[in-house]
Symmetry: C5
Subunit: 346 residues, 5 copies
């Protein structure tokens, strides 16, 4: 925040940071130049602002920079101190802010790394002829853009920095779709399993997917407002020819939100289905068990009756008493089974 007390002369300080090298790509219709520069090699951050005429410069910084280097960079490009502050805070909300000479976008990149959903903050500063991007770790979702720029006859070479920004937002939206597709597949697999058998583990799996959907939802909604703003409002740094492209990004993000909602609905239905299935199966088991008991209890009663020790029990002395008792008992059991079957109880 207090940027004034930092002079750009203390090279050693800059060199002391753990910052990674800076990746720089300069391009225009005719030329293309991509190179990296160690921060310690830079005598002044102002070197970065010397952009060749008619060219667009993309400066990409992966990993956490030192505070001083950041402030120096911000001063060199006349970026508002609040923006530089945001870059150091990995918990910022996705947003777009317009400043006098720059546009500041915060968004989240989502991807699966080792089947773990990773959220990485992306800071993007759009200037008249440059784009600066800050990622948290090495690597991003922009490799496709790099190869496009390298191609001599690609459209991006004829457009300005705002079109580069569009490509980045498009790549972001694409990364959301990939994550959503993975989740959709997981939901479908889970649905098949829930149908097949009831397992309390499914509940935990449902909860896990739900949490990831909540995360995506949390990061994608502000992106929508952002894209809507970029596509509709006339911003100084965005060329009218780029606006249809930004509206296209907006449409893709809305589509991703729809997909998130669909996944949520499916998942919530799945939870209900799991609950219903579990309860149904348990009830079915209890019913069968109870039916077995219910059939034997009257029979046991009859056996109990003829186990009584009364002196005068005429049936006991009868020749076919025992056989008749068996017949009666089998009849009773048969009637009950027939009755329960007829009522479709099992």
């Amino acid at each position: 925040m207090d940027s004034k007390d930092i002079t750009l002369n203390d090279h050693t300080e800059l060199a002391a940071t753990e910052c990674n090298v800076i990746e720089i790509i300069d391009y225009c219709t005719e030329s293309y130049h991509a190179y990296t520069k160690g921060i310690s090699e830079l005598h002044h951050m102002e070197e970065l602002t010397e952009i060749p005429e008619h060219s667009v410069r993309w400066i990409n910084i992966d990993g956490i920079c030192g505070k001083k280097a950041l402030t120096a960079l911000g001063d060199a490009f006349h970026i508002h101190p609040l923006v530089m502050e945001s870059i150091s805070d990995p918990m910022e909300r996705a947003k777009v802010e317009e400043y006098r000479n720059s546009l500041h976008i915060i968004a989240k990149m989502l991807y699966y790394s080792n089947s773990q959903l990773v959220v990485e903050q992306l800071n993007l500063i759009l200037g008249p002829n440059y784009v600066i991007t800050f990622g948290e770790t090495m690597g991003d979702v922009f490799d496709g853009i790099r190869s496009r720029i390298a191609l001599e006859d690609s459209q991006v070479r004829n457009y300005g920095a705002d079109y580069l920004m569009y490509l980045m937002l498009d790549a972001l939206a694409e990364s959301y779709f990939e994550v959503l597709e993975t989740l959709k597949e997981q939901i479908d697999t889970l649905e098949d399993e829930v149908m097949e058998r009831t397992d309390q583990e499914h509940l935990l799996e449902i909860r896990r997917i739900k949490k990831e959907l909540m995360k995506i939802s949390k990061y994608i909604w502000p992106l929508r407002d952002m894209a809507s703003l970029l596509g509709r409002e006339a911003l100084a740094l965005i060329h009218p020819a780029t606006e249809p492209y930004l509206r296209d990004v907006y449409n893709r993000i809305v589509q991703a939100i729809d997909a998130t909602e669909t996944c949520r609905d499916l998942l919530s239905g799945l939870a209900d289905l799991h609950l219903s299935n579990t309860s149904y199966r348990l009830n079915e088991i209890m019913k069968v068990l109870t039916i077995i008991s219910t059939i034997f209890i009257p029979l046991t009663f009859i056996a109990g009756v003829y186990g009584m020790n009364f002196v005068y029990m005429p049936e006991l002395g009868m020749r076919w008493g025992y056989g008749a008792t068996w017949v009666v008992m089998l009849l009773i059991a048969g009637c009950m089974v027939y009755y329960f079957r007829k009522k479709k109880w099992f």
Copy 2:
């Protein structure tokens, strides 16, 4: 995207695509001409842009075109490259975009084919005096429109291309209603079945219909925004006289959305009813079984008592002991049945 590297001279390339023939209908108040043209027959896509004076041309392309043919077509009609890109992507969201000389509409056609809900993307490009439509498969929901145009005194012959677009949107809305009516019937049938008997299959059926409703909902909501935009905003390509018709389409789509919501509510109520019925029936069965057990258990106890082998059990030696025991047991059973009945337990 990179449209500049494609020249229209490579006929063979065009011929090599699997693209189907192009259907062309030219009409004005006096004349009507419908014909098809194989893409390989076209020397230049520019042939398609030579529309007879005062006529409206409807160009309909079913099936997937090759990328080159599409780009050529787009260049011939001066259509924004983003539009042409959307046409190749069957996953686009319904939307309307206004460009300088054309209006681009993406919508979904819904219909049942072999009792399977099919979703087909429709791309519609409205120009000053032409409408180009792209469908994914052979056949569409526009046969009624074709015969209307063929009729000499039909209204469409006196109106421009925007009225043709209205007819198409109206046919789309109609197709949604047909699908919704089919679903409504399925819900009603299911409701009758749920009332009659409890079957875990009903739950799956409910889930299936719910998923189809989610699909319809997903495709119909953006259609609403689209129709609203067309009906309210003054767009250059839409004649004021056509606006009431477009508002009418808007109203029909809102009605379809209402119907979707109603179906959802009914279905959700049905799921509750199923759950409640299943649980009620299961509980009723358990209750009856438990009542049977409960009646016999005290009787079995009495039988057990007189099955004891104590030397001194005065009742055993009594002349009417056995008979009296039976009487007591029947009395107890009778009282219990009477009590349970009085309490309306079964």
Copy 3:
């Protein structure tokens, strides 16, 4: 739609329709004239447009007219063909559309006929000095308005056609309240019954009322937008002095919507209460039954012990063994009952 091919000279055609007679009321501050005319008596529909100076004409048509008669009527009053088309479609959504020289309102009349909720579509066309209403069946909710117009010193006689429209909308809103009151009474009756006893039938009754509420809700919400539009926007055909009255109608409709929501909440609470009561009662029964079983099972065990045939069982030979066993068994039963009671289990 294709209105141009119908000439008004084919009287026979008109006569052939099953259309009922047309009811016409002309009134101004001084005069009042109500009469009916068979459609076959009309030589030209234009007769209907010859409205006496300073008078307001109300034309009411009940029952389905033939398409030709409708088109003729529409042409006579210069009504947009879309409006005339809507009149033949009983499934239209409530809406208000402003055309150059007329206002077209579609609304639903709701009333109970033989304790069956009937929905009847009302089409209302407001012109500078006339109101045309189309109902689906004989009879409507406007009898109060007819007698008001007949009264010499009533306010309506001093106002224009827009005030007549207000009266009609007010009568419509009133009809909604009557239906809602009937439903409210049914809910209250049902609540009492649900409190008293549990019956699976209640669930069906709840579902029935819920469906009727859904219907009302469906028809009343668009009415709200309609009334809001009429009350707030400056429409050419509505005199500023009528606007407070239209705002009043709006307020009444909002009130009806509130009542609908209240009914829904009550009903949803009732469903929960039913479920809870059913489950509670069933559980209570099961508990009592299980307690009975649980008390007898240990006793049966004791009886079983002394029913064993071991040669050396000292208790069997004791003089008071049998009596003591009874005492023990009664003690055990007593303790269990006491314990269960103390724990408030029954």
Copy 4:
């Protein structure tokens, strides 16, 4: 409605109504005069319009007036007939309507009378230098205002009629808070009871409170729109200096709405808690009962085995057979109890 046919000369008619006396308070910075007047004493309603210069007049009418008196009053103050009509209808929705020379507010007073929630409609007409209030019964929530006006140095004496209206709305909002606090206490008491024991009565109590909350919610929401309108829009009759006070009322009403929502959430959570507790306790009982049965059933089986009458049963003749059986039975019971305990089943 038809106000023209009523002349103010029919005193007898006025006298014949059951209307109560009219309470009149005139005040300005220097003077204060409060008195009542029987309606029959009034020769002309116009007497009421003769307000002393620089004074504000508050006319308060409690109880239902006759229609004629109302119309006369309305005519005297040039109030729109719709307003006077509303006053007779106790079912009106809370709203504010601006007329040329007056502001008409309908709101509901809520208070507990004999622990019964009473809803009383308040009609308030604000003119340039008067406020007329109509209540349904004797008494209102304005006693605090009366004593404030009576105080010589109170702020209200220096302000106009709009400030008096503010005080009334503030008193209304206060009355809502009192009702809500009573309900909040009832919910807290109920929560303690639900925690302690399960009783189906709690459900009815929850439903009762819920219905009262629905009532409050119904009356308070339109109040919000009303207050918002008064505080934000520049209305002719409201002095800019009063606007901050009206915004304050708005804030208090929003707070009351928040409180209502909080109560609803608490209550809904309470219903869930009740359900969960009831189900939990019932299940616990069933579990204990089932455990008792389960322990005795194998024992009973063993007793049954040695109660069999086979001739060759070696165990029966053994000296310690009986004792050993007891030992085995106790061992089995002990193991089961130990196992169940270890599994924490009871």
Copy 5:
């Protein structure tokens, strides 16, 4: 309210209040002066308004002041009486109100004190060159701000009073995050416990956290509207350079709201999980118990059969009858266990 009857001459009255000392911090780029003053030391409240030129004054009053002191303070700074009234009411809703020469903000500070969630009202009055804050108790969340001001080269020293207000709002938002993080941890701990074992206590814990979330939600939502207003609308007292900072605060508050919603969702899912787990475990127990009973009941029946005392029971006399019976019984039990296992019933 009635502020006119209070004169500032009654020192003794002021001294009599239980008010704490007033904390005053004056600062500008060059100078910094922090001191406290007992209210009794002040001869006139006007002393507080004598702010050194180019300086910003922060007046902080902790604890409840006497009404007279407050009114005197309000008069000295020309603050609207409504504002001073709000300060005495600890139940006010968060809001921002603009007055002619001041901005009045009410917000809530949230923090844990002895693991108890404490809500403290903060009143903040922003003037052209001063900020007055009123807290309810000693201590606040502003210690970080105090040390920042003390630092000679900090940014706050170069900015005006509006920037000080921004810092305070930022500290407030920060305090919300800390509370939310504590709650998030509690939810996570609870989730682990719910997974491990089922305990009815968890339900109470869930309810407790839910209530705290409701509280936070209640206080944070109005803060959002407030921050939105401050960041977007051009208010006289806020320098354009401060606006980006206020938008930043807005973004942080929206983020806090998102976090609250996430916590709510997690908690609601947890309640479902608890319910499901409890029900699942109970059902599992019942199932096992019922299976045990079901296995023994047929065996007991067989034992009962051979306990009957019929004279002619051939099996009884057989040499291996007893052994065969055991074999049969073990076979039956084995079959049942096998069957139940195969069906995966336990």
